[in-house]
Amino acid sequence: MMAEAGLAALWLAAALAALQLVLTALGLRRDEALLSSVRPIAIAQGLLTLFAFAALIYLFLNVDLSVALVAENDHSAKPWLYKFAGTWGNHEGSMLMWVTILGLAGGAVAIFERRLNERTLIATLGAQAAISLGFYAFLLFASNPFARLDPAPAEGQGLNPLLQDPGLAFHPPTLYIGYVGLSVAFSFAVGALVTRDVGPAFARAMRPWVLGAWIFLTLGITAGSYWAYYELGWGGWWFWDPVENASLMPWLAATALLHSVTVLATRDGLRAWTVMLAVVAFSMSMVGTFLVRSGILTSVHSFAVDPRRGAFILALLAIYIGGALLLFGLRVGTVKEGSQFNAVSREGALVVNNLLLSAILGIVLVGTLYPLGVEAMTGEKLSVGPPYFNSAAGPLALILVALMAAGPLMRWRRDELKPLVRRLALPILLTVAALVAVMLLAPGIRLLPLLGLVVAAGVGAGSLAPLWGRNLRRTPLFTWGMVISHVGVAVSLAGMASEAAFTRETLVASRIGETHRVGPWAIRLNGVDPVAGPNWTAIQATIRAQRGTAAPILMQPEARMFWTPPTETSEAAIRTVLDGQLYVVIGKTDAEGRWQLRLWWKPFVTLIWAGGAMIAFGGFLALIGRVRRERRAQERLAWA
């Protein structure tokens, strides 16, 4: 019953989306009276999708095996958290989740947005309905999550064991919220293009959505990077894998958009550019979804690959992005130019920020798609790896981060270089000091990590500069947010550079009782024992790690064998200490009882993710600050 109810809700929501689109089109062209019904429809649509998603969660929690999707992905022996997370740990469920978040976002725009010109808002909701319609069609015609299975099997087929991990259970939703946030920004841009109303009001309406999307994308990428780090057992934190790039590209575009939308909201500049970025940001999230789901690029992350679904997403991509770019070409010429500004000014700095971010985005995009292009032309298979990405994007990223210290200290409209240099004197001094210190303490360090450490020190200090000489209690929340995010970037950069420069790695086939060295640690393999979990068995190594004469610690890496479906995974043992992480992986054995061990010592590697969390937290503070200010402005408007 529940499955049928969910399916019915989905069809109803799709019908409402169609109605929403038609009413918007008719209302904007002919009869203004029709527009008043668009808001309630958007809200109803959101509630219906929520109901459908709740129905699917119910089916998964109760392991209703007469539903095909549940039978394929659920298992009664699974812990409840993974039954719950299993709802979206598959293609159909994740698409339903996407549509649900999309529906709820549309409802939220309809309820909360009051300051934007009404026609622009309705056009925005119309665009949102058009996007939803495509995904409803995708769900209902190509990936119905509620399809029944007759006869029902006695037991389900489990969940990919790599996905049975609390971190990963919440990784896809985080990215999806980010993608959907960008779709809302996209809809605002389309709405503004339709009514030719590109200005500060539009920017202020769009900003919280961009900021929210950006926070979730930041969290998603940070969590995804940590997941790959500890779950794959390869000791790396970023592999420039197509799927990772697919999540990085929307983030880069969203970061650029976040900064350009501020120029538009505060100074009414960069009109066309901001609209373009909103389109690009959403395109990147669609391109990302397409690359991940279609499997046209080989990746370690390809779980649910299906070329037919790829074709469907490609069609949606062509309609939305092609349509938006067409609209852009037709309309932007008629949007008035925004206000002008001097090259040396806050706006100027933000333009440089945008150009650098766009260049990095271009580099990542080209590197990700290059194998596809080569295969299309010559039929040859190749992959583009870290050497290209690091050497092409690394220097630009360093320049970007270095300039990040200067931007927030500049004045809007026009500024002078001399006083700016004076404001930056202390960070510059610190940079030089850091350079000398690193060269002395770590001679022979490679150039990029060296620059990374030095820039991180200078920028960390420089990013705090906007708080100097200010009454800290009266400093707006969004300024705090910016400062924390920027410091977070420096922290993360320090972690990356330290990991690149100082990591020690040892690979051995070890007998029980042998001792090996990695960095400052002595590692002894004490024993290897079989252990069993709820749906897996494993061999578990017991390892004694000792640093100097300090008390030894015990570590237990595992190699797990899951039985439904049969899969082997490696559970690294990771010990975090103040100045880094010790990372131990156990591999296979040979006939003579020697075990493969991989040992890493990674100084300050945790700063990478701590910085990521800081960046997201700063964004969160900024979001609260902006929304509060917006609310107050709305109240003033209501009283006037």
């Binding site: 395109s283 279609s294 062509a318 992005i321 070409g329 596809l372 086939a509 296979k588 493969q596």
Partner: protein, 177 residues
């Protein structure tokens, strides 16, 4: 005005290009074994340090003279490498010269490995960071290349050498003469 036009429509044109690329990518069936595209080509230039003191090392220059041979990519920490040791010994006994590159390894670990599983190698180079391995187009251990007398890669064997692979490798080396 003309310039502005171009800028306004460039994104759409670029996007159309990507769309075309994606479509061709979707239409092509994909396979997942990755072969080195260097098969049939000359070895890239490299010169590795010797993996063990007092033994010859491996370089592209050395591989260009002294006749055809096998180039075995292995490591002491690699379990399938131990599994293929008897087959390598068989190949050496059949008169095939085998040079080797040890990946991310240490001299005493290599010595222990050779002592335990036998030493079929005429020369061993040490590739501390896999750079030569990647330059050869090899993505894992063990892998074995057939190199002709002029330093051209004739054949790539991915994974451990099974007993049934031995005859075909011997004939591949003979054919490379």
């Amino acid at each position: 005005m003309g310039m502005r036009r171009v800028i306004l429509w460039a994104p759409l044109a670029l996007f159309a290009l990507f769309g075309l690329l994606f479509t061709t990518g979707l239409l092509k069936p994909s396979s997942s074994t990755i072969r080195s595209h260097l098969v049939g080509q000359k070895l890239p230039d490299f010169n590795l340090p010797a993996a063990q003191a007092g033994r010859p090392s491996v370089s592209s220059a050395a591989l260009e003279q002294g006749g055809p041979r096998l180039l075995n990519i292995f490591a002491s920490w690699c379990v399938p490498c131990a599994a293929e040791a008897p087959q390598l010994a068989q190949l050496r006994d059949a008169g095939v010269r085998i040079d080797a590159i040890a990946i991310r390894d240490r001299p005493d670990d290599i010595a222990g490995f050779l002592k335990r599983y036998g030493d079929p190698y005429a020369a061993i180079g040490a590739d501390k960071d896999s750079s030569v391995q990647l330059a050869l187009g090899s993505s894992g251990v063990p892998e074995t290349f057939v190199i002709d007398g002029k330093g051209v890669i004739r054949h790539q064997h991915i994974g451990d050498i099974r007993p049934e692979d031995v005859p075909s490798l011997i004939s591949a080396v003979q054919a490379a003469r």
